[in-house]
Amino acid sequence: MGFELEGVGLIHDNGFRALGRISLRADRGERVAVIGPSGAGKTSLIRLLGTALRPSEGRLEILDANPWRLSAGALRRLRTRVGTIHQSPPIPPRQRVVTAIHAGRLGRWPAWKGLLSLLYPVDIAGAQATLARFDLADRLFERCDRLSGGQLQRVGIARVLYQQPDLILADEPVSALDPALADAALGELVEESVRRGASLFASLHAVDLALKWFPRIVGLRDGEVAFDLPADRVTEAMLHELYAAEGDTLPVQARDAATCAARARSSCN
């Protein structure tokens, strides 16, 4: 099992309810995209799954364990198996790319290895191979503040792939990439999930990307699950209703491709 939520809710300290009672389950190796207007609770949901936030209510299991009942050591070991791709990569600007990539596997390395790697990178080949999947191999020894926003976002993805987690969480992982690169980056994520049997749970702003790469789509609105369907059963009407608050047009990556994809998957088939 990838994860299981049962009646999980999240209320922030200021009393704001970010998530209603959500029940959701994903099997090991399953790929799920979550879409929805901004403020729907996508980031909160991903932070809950990444054990960065503790649910206010309900039952939560990640990789067959309830993280908040584990001992500190066991929780740490569980966390090394969950990788979160953040929308803006949490990488210190002056860090070198190779160090930022290595940081992905720090949880598995003993402390001495992590510290040693600051003196001389211990796994240059591994970091380079991961970067190569995103056409960034030549940037290995560059400093992160010399990268463009799109390059940095791909470094952030590469770092989580380098972590080799069993559950990959992604919060708008390709928001800073142009359509072609976004497509390629998502392709890499999906391939990684398929190859290693890791579950992939990604929030995406662009509906067309979600429909293209993910077999299962969860629509989230106002902290509640609006629908949870196989991609080919998501209709344009459902999407319009989901994004009703944001106007008539659906948020997509590339206009032409999007309508096509949406048609291909819903009304046209």
């Binding site: 003196l119 001389y120 240059i124 080949a125 290995l140 020894f141």
Partner: protein
């Protein structure tokens, strides 16, 4: 694509250079932490620290302490007052915003530049030597006592105040002063009507802040015999009188806090 870290060689090189430099520095500085634990040193320090409690509180010592504290404050105040006599004229001389010859440029421009450069050099010279060195030299000429401290403060702080005053006068809006100069007004008219209304608050605020520093400095100068708390502390330390030293340290910390608070209040009142 090479599989080696291109920065590693430089990093290793610089680390080796740093270590190679650090080693002689450690030797030069006689870095011997174990000296702290040598029995002789432990005995001296232990006895001294043991004397810290209870702090000395005999009436005659407290009387002495009160006089020394007042002396310290008086040295700082008098030193700043004398420093002002030095700093204000030099700052007025050096401020470019008050130079009528720069307008145009008018006659006497070269002479003006030379005078200003000279003034700046004087200010730099006054600042260059730390006040405690001045104090040490004045003690040699004038003998032990507060006079050396006052003069030392006057000289270094005169230099510092003069430099900062000049900077403040030049960083405020200089157009009013220029207008006055262009209308035929004199240097002092331009200062009083053109620059001071804008700069007065910053000038006073900085002066008061400097007074706060002068209080600390006057304590420190006492160690070379320039009177006040420092001289008293030096004597107590020399006699290894821990009780007196701890009382003086406490008074010193209280004095610094008091000077901080007073300077903050004054700056608010003059704002």
């Amino acid at each position: 694509m090479s599989n080696r870290d291109p920065a590693a060689r430089a990093r290793l090189g610089w680390t080796l250079v740093a270590l190679a430099l650090l080693w002689p520095l450690l030797v030069l500085a006689e870095f011997r932490p174990w000296a702290l634990f040598e029995p002789a040193n432990l005995r001296v320090m232990g006895g001294f620290l043991a004397g810290f409690l209870p702090p000395a509180s005999s009436p005659e010592f407290l009387g002495l302490l009160l006089r020394a504290t007042l002396e310290t404050i008086a040295i700082a105040t008098a030193g700043i007052a004398l420093a002002l006599w030095l700093a204000a004229p030099l700052a007025i001389l050096c401020a470019r915003a008050l130079a009528v010859s720069r307008i145009g440029p008018g006659p006497g421009r070269l002479g003006g530049e030379v005078v200003r450069a000279g003034g700046r050099a004087v200010l730099a010279f006054l600042r260059a030597i730390p006040e405690i060195v001045w104090a040490l030299m004045f003690v040699r000429v004038l003998g032990l006592g507060p006079a050396a401290g006052v003069l030392a403060l006057a000289i270094t702080y005169g230099g510092m105040l003069g430099k900062v005053y000049t900077e403040i006068l030049e960083s405020t809006d200089t157009r009013p002063a220029r207008a006055i100069l262009e209308a035929g007004g004199g240097r002092f008219a331009a200062l009083a009507y053109g620059l001071l209304p804008n700069a007065a608050q910053e000038l006073t605020s900085y002066t008061v802040y400097r007074w706060e520093c002068a209080v600390r400095a006057s304590v420190i100068m006492g160690f070379v015999g320039a009177g006040g708390l420092g001289q008293l502390m030096d004597q107590s330390m020399r006699m290894l009188n821990g009780g007196e030293a701890s009382t003086i340290l406490l008074v010193f910390l209280a004095l610094v806090l008091f000077a901080d608070a007073l300077s903050a209040t004054l700056r608010r009142a003059l704002a």
